[in-house]
Amino acid sequence: MTELLTQGLGEVTRWELPDLQYRYLLPLFVLFGMAVVSVLVEAFVPRAARRTVQLFLVFGTLIAAFILVAGLSGIRSLAGGGSIAVDGPALFLQGTILVLAIMAALLIAERDADPAGDAFAARANALPGSEDEREFTRRGWLTTEVWPLFLFSVTGMLIFVSGTDLLILFVGLEVMSLPLYLMAGIARRRRLLSQEAAMKYFLLGAFSSGFFIYGAAMLYGFAGTVDLGGISDAITNQAGPNGLLLAGVVLLSVGLLFKVAAVPFHQWAPDVYQGSPTPITSFMASCVKVAAFGALLRIMYVALGGLRWDWVPAFWIIAILTMLVGTVLALTQTDIKRMLAYSSIAHAGFLLIAVIATSEAGLAAAMFYLLAYGVSTIGAFGVVTLVRDSTGEATHLSSWAGLGKRSPWVAGTFAVFLLSFAGIPLTGGFIGKFAVFEAGYASGAGWLIVVAVILSATAAFFYGRVIVIMFFTDPQEDGPTVVVPSAFTAIAIASGLAMTVVLGVFPQPFLDLAEKASIFVR
């Protein structure tokens, strides 16, 4: 057929099928395929068996994908016709995302914490407060469509950290984000808040995607290609008009900075983190952050590294603003989820230092930081799901008063996560901050590091405040209780705790791994 065509058209340039190198793309295919299967499970498996089937499918898929990613370690190559990178950063971050996704999935799978069932609405399409909703709740239906959405989103993240051209990156971004908008809106309790969060997240996410794709178009206009390496070459050769280049860089950055929740593109984060079902919040706060920083690092290092002196000053401003606003606003939050949201904004600021460093050390530091931050974040949100009163999770800070006296283990675990966020030695957070600051300092951003150190000391104050509230104040009369979860949440929190401590006490193997993985292929 092809031959016939070419003969018929004469000697036209022969279009060659790109060599996709399926072996390198296998993790993506497995995830994507199983996400589709998961949709079919929703459609065809009887309601009673759905949850079990989905759980086996999801955990099996994630673990298999992790093994496949691990099997690729050491490879440095381009696959999928040059649009997917299989290199150290991609594999390290994919591995990180999969580990974090497994932990988040454990939280999503929990259904013993809330007597009414899992964290998701019985039927997402029932109007809040309507007759239907009561009916569905009475029947005890459980939502399992969160699972295919979850798998699609993870697939998008894996693409997002490995894409090497702007269009593939955009596809990754959307595949990651669209399911998240839905997942944010299906909380079982406080449904209006959840739906509001989903709506806001969707509107603003769409807005930021617009920035991203517009920026990609500008850069295409400048370089004549969407390939990151090609853009880099074009910058070196001064191939196109500067206006297009600068506009492209800014618009693209806005799209990415939105996803990492950097100031002033952060305002969605507290609302969305607070409104979303807490297991989903943990997924967003950890995995999305990893994926977005993966893409940001790749674009800034590979495509725009040559333009470093132009964008670094702007990124200084963004980084300082992000650290400052995240820290200052976290100080006065009264809701634990909002406080963690602002804390995650502050962390984005610290991570931006690694982007600014534009060095191998910076990349390695960022990857380690993301891992350490991710495990603590999921653990912390896991603890949030356990502290409950009659209306669901008791997220107001005042109801955490005296938690350390009633449940010293849970409060102690939460304190470890907070100490890690604060960057106290012997936790993963400390090593991460240390490595990032070191890399930033080595790249000549001395004053930025001074600001960062001061702000991280200030940040330690609001983490300390929560510890003080938990351990030094008297419990309320009718305070919340700490529920005993099933093994799912227990494993997620315990592994978060274990990894936080291991990364703090024996960080060297992980630092070595990140260091070895710190070169982008182009």
């Binding site: 709506m199 806001k200 800014v250 002033p264 100080l331 490595a435 890399a439």
Partner: protein, 653 residues
């Protein structure tokens, strides 16, 4: 020939030969033989505390005994190490046990290891020895406490952290131990949480210690930036080459840390409140060991202070001021533990003063630290014995004539009393007099403070002793039947009583030889003869004691008199330490947080409050917020994009 030297030469013990030894050539060698087991020092108490705290009620029965065994085991290990170290020649004594590399980022290395040299060694013996005795004592003291197991778990945790602090081979690891003892202290001060005063005291100690810890962390950061290393060897090797201003900053930061942990001015206020903890805790942590960590830190950091004369002078000033300050407080308080707490502050002030003298004073700082560790622990245990038999009565105005009913306690306490006053030949006579002499040889005012302090010390201790043991009984019969304490408590008191008597005599002279290779040692030069100096200070001691005895021997009224001098009023109020804290730290802090909240609620974050109000479930309001804010968020993103563009264009121009 002064009195001390004549005594030591009579004993035939070593004369000082190691003056002006350069500590930097004295690098630790890798641990081998017995030394490769020094991790056991840490492992035993860690094991004890882990089992007691993790096993919960299952360990109730055997827990306390197990904890005692763990500490005594650590003491035995310490003894083995000590004898092994004795067998080495003076310059081969420091050993280093490398454990693992914690961080290797860029050119920064942070190895984790233990370092045992002559300085750490004396601390190890003090901590495990006195610690072991106090563990034994606590078996009796805490016998009826329902949470006995937890108490012993915390005590073991403290021992482990304190040992880590003194055997760390880098500032970073020292910091871990530093925080560990702070944690243990917090847990133990607040051990009787149901007493509001205990909970408040624990909180206060916690907060004030954080202020000091900021100093230590700043010092560590500065070292890292300046030297690229935080190990002792790395820092001390590079210290002479660094600029004086940097070293001064590091020195001041270390001093701040020492002030927090050792209750020195201006961070002294927590120590008196910390007396809310069980008395064995006061003896171990707030007298013998933890509060001396600041002295250890400064002596250990000798090479840094060598290069920072201004910081060294500041150390001296802080020490001199605190020793007077604490002594005055001690002279006015009526609670027996409060007097001892003021005294601790003052005695640690002596050590800090000595540490601020440089190589002239280092060994005497440690010498006094050791003798103080013994006699002050002895005094606290004696106070505990009295409290134990009098239903936790603390007020000395309700004591009197206890000599008759608690003769054994009277004996051990008296040996501590004679020791702290510095009556020859008891222990502080050797250690404190050396500090007074060394101070005079460096700075007249420092020496004068130390001399006057000795007089006040003698006054408040005699006052305490007289009010407690002599005169008429002022205890009422209703619920106080003083009686002698059980044997398990008397045994540690006896051992420490003997140590208070003999430690100074046994260690004098030998301690200089032992420590000089690590800390360096220079003989100070006094303008007058040592014998004259000793006579003067002895006169101060006797006069102070005599005044107190004459004033208090006829007893005191049960309610404190109100018409007293302004100084007494101030001293009863701890010389307004709390008022100072309130004005300087608390009010500005509250003001700062309040104004932050104000800015937050009125300006930046009206959104937050709006949203959380909506959580209540007012859907109409929620919708209004929703449409409004998504738009404003988008606007802010747009503004951000414009900001970025402007920034990029500005850079291009």
């Amino acid at each position: 020939m002064n009195l001390t030297n004549s005594l030591t030469s009579f004993l035939g013990s070593a004369t000082i030969e190691a003056s002006n030894v350069d500590p930097t050539v004295n690098l630790p060698v890798a641990a081998s033989g017995v030394f490769s087991f020094m991790w056991l020092l840490l492992a035993l108490p860690v094991l004890g505390s882990a089992l007691l705290l993790l096993l919960g009620k299952r360990a109730d029965k055997w827990g306390p005994i197990f904890a005692v065994l763990m500490v005594c085991g650590a003491f035995v290990v310490g003894l083995f190490l000590y004898f092994a170290m004795l067998a080495e020649s003076a310059n081969d004594r420091p050993v280093n046990l490398h454990m693992w590399d914690w961080i290797l980022v860029g050119n920064f290395e942070a190895p984790i290891g233990m370092q045992l040299d002559q300085l750490s060694m004396v601390f190890v013996l003090l901590i495990t020895g006195v610690g072991g005795l106090i563990h034994i004592y606590s078996l009796g003291y805490m016998k009826d406490d329902p949470d006995k197991r937890k108490f012993f778990g915390y005590l073991n945790l403290f021992i482990a952290a304190m040992l880590l602090l003194v055997t760390a081979d880098s500032y970073l690891l020292l910091y871990v131990g530093w925080e560990g003892v702070g944690l243990a202290s917090y847990l133990l001060v607040g051990f009787w949480q149901y007493k509001p005063a205990a909970a408040v005291a624990a909180k206060k100690a916690f907060v004030m210690n954080r202020v000091g810890d900021v100093g230590l962390s700043i010092a560590i950061m500065l070292m890292f930036v300046t030297f690229g290393s935080v190990t002792f060897t790395g820092v001390f090797d590079a210290a002479p080459g660094a600029s004086e201003s940097t070293m001064t900053w590091i020195g001041f930061a270390l001093l701040l840390a020492a002030c927090g942990k050792s209750a020195q001015l201006p961070l002294q206020a927590w120590l008196l409140d910390a007396m809310e903890g069980p008395t064995p805790v006061s003896a171990l942590i707030h007298a013998a060991t933890m509060v001396t960590a600041g002295v250890y830190l400064i002596v250990r950091s000798g090479p840094i202070f060598d290069a920072a004369p201004a910081a060294r002078d500041a150390v001296m000033v802080v020490g001199a001021a605190t020793l007077i300050f604490g002594a005055i407080i001690g002279a006015a308080k009526d609670g027996i533990k409060d007097v001892l707490a003021g005294s601790t502050m003052s005695q640690v002030g002596y050590m800090i003063l000595a540490a601020g003298l440089g190589p002239v004073g280092y060994v005497f700082a440690i010498f006094h630290l050791l003798t103080h560790g013994m006699f002050k622990a002895n005094l606290f245990l004696g106070a505990g014995s009295i409290m134990h038999s009098m239903h936790d009565q603390l007020n000395m105005r309700r004591f009197g004539a206890l000599r008759k009913v608690m003769f054994f306690t009277f004996l051990t306490f008296s040996s501590g009393w004679l020791a702290i006053m510095g009556v020859p030949p008891f222990s502080a006579f050797y250690s404190k007099d050396k500090i007074i002499e060394a101070s005079f040889s460096v700075n007249f005012w420092g020496g004068l403070a130390a001399l006057v302090g000795a007089g006040i010390t003698s006054f408040y201790m005699t006052r305490l002793w007289t009010m407690t043991f002599t005169g008429k009984a002022r205890w009422t019969e209703d619920n106080q039947h003083p009686h002698e304490s059980p044997k398990v408590m008397l045994f540690p008191m006896a051992v420490l009583g003997l140590a208070s008597l003999a430690a100074g005599f046994l260690l004098a002279g030998a301690i200089e030889t032992w420590l000089a290779p690590v800390t360096g040692f220079e003989e100070g030069h006094l303008p007058i003869s040592s014998l004259a100096m000793e006579s003067i200070s002895l006169t101060f001691v006797l006069v102070g004691g005599a005044i107190a005895y004459l004033q208090y021997r006829r007893g005191v009224p049960i309610t404190p008199p109100q018409h007293v001098s302004a100084l007494t009023v101030a001293a009863r109020d701890e010389l307004y330490g709390d008022a100072f804290n309130e004005a300087v730290f608390m009010r500005p802090g509250q003001w700062l947080t309040r104004s932050l909240v104000f800015v937050d609620s009125k300006a930046i974050d009206g959104i937050v409050n709006g949203t959380s109000a909506a959580v209540g479930g007012l859907s109409g309001r929620l919708r209004r917020i929703q449409t409004g804010f998504a738009r404003s968020y988008a606007l802010s993103m747009l503004a951000g994009a414009v900001l970025l563009i402007v920034a990029l264009i500005l850079v291009r121009m």
